[in-house]
Symmetry: C2
Subunit: 220 residues, 2 copies
Amino acid sequence: MSVRVEVAVFTVREGGLEVLLGRVGGGTWSLPAAAPGDGRALDDVAAAALQHMAGVRGIPMEQLYTFDREGADIAVAYLALIDAGRHPISPGADVAEVRWFAHDDLPTLTDGQDGVVAYGLQRLRAKTAYAPVAVNLLPDLFTLGEMQAVYEVLLDRPLDARNFRRDVLRAGVVEESGEVRAEGRGRPARLYRSAGGRFAVDARERRVARAISSGDDPPA
Amino acid sequence: MSVRVEVAVFTVREGGLEVLLGRVGGGTWSLPAAAPGDGRALDDVAAAALQHMAGVRGIPMEQLYTFDREGADIAVAYLALIDAGRHPISPGADVAEVRWFAHDDLPTLTDGQDGVVAYGLQRLRAKTAYAPVAVNLLPDLFTLGEMQAVYEVLLDRPLDARNFRRDVLRAGVVEESGEVRAEGRGRPARLYRSAGGRFAVDARERRVARAISSGDDPPA
DNA sequence: GCAAAAGTGTTCTTTGTACACCCATGG
DNA sequence: CCATGGGTGTACAAAGAACACTTTTGC
């Protein structure tokens, strides 16, 4: 019985949701993956897989699901969210290429990894309804407009800016940094940072998320 | 790397939430567990573990989480809900004893299985907010009073019978069987059966569940 | 006819949704 | 001075929570 750990890594860039893939030599594209050796914890193996493939460290991860694979194998899948801008990717040793792919235009993947991506996406969208997932996809300081844009990509529908602002501030998931940023035309926006709270984007989405699936807090 | 599958099986009886445990010889109490041999799917291994330990079949299961264990081992944990009345338990081959234990008065368990029970309970309570978990804990036909009693045990707080009735019926998770049952004093209650829908018990709980943790729909 | 449980309906409050409007900046 | 995005407030609808009352049975 062989065990693998695989990580579905998502980012939001240029108005699109993207997935991190790499390949060795000229082989098929794959998720960051590793085999747990000696007694390392699964979470650590997942973190190591990402670091090995793309040189990115310190990204929080969440266990997704354990899948059956061909033969007598199983794959423990993880979900990770990163801000591609803050964490440039570069191929590790024996990795030929690492790239971001639009989530709806992926190449052929190894094994059953498309199932991992699909479920990761489902969980990510569901988490949107009750966890401040956007802060993991944004820089340290960000405007509420940028945050809203991330949610609009994740949910694939427009949000009302006024209600969005009210909900996010009421939930206390962000705090003002005191700084502002002028960016082209229009009134300069205040810059916020994460405050660590939890919140929901809006009620309709909450209900949808609940009806379809929900994320969860892994055990301590 | 050795893999085990373990199942946290819950029931509600006599006003209490109980967990199924068994033991071999005079050893420590354990959850139903099995090692996946050849290429059997994890879900099947979980079902087989329950059947082997307690002789119970055909119970829907849901994957919970994959835990690190001592050494280089991992344990894939499952959650199962059964109506103890409909599914009598009896020790399988080489099982000395199987019993229901009150969830808050468990004996010492093997390994890290108390973590599995704790997380299973958390998930079960969270699922309460958006899935009709009670129908898995009740007979084919049941009264709304019985159903409410199950939820009161799971949530550990009293529910308003009138709001409960309204919410359950509105959500369409049960359908009338046409029969009634007189049980001692009081007006006879209509008997319902599951209709397969999803619902939430009440809003406060939904929010609590969301804030603490949530269940999820496993991938297809 | 009284206690006990089932069943129906109504009011109040909270939450979410859809808006109209003003503010500050760049061109 | 106007187009553009930022920021504030308000009116309406829906959902949840609390609660009063009638119905049907056993004793």
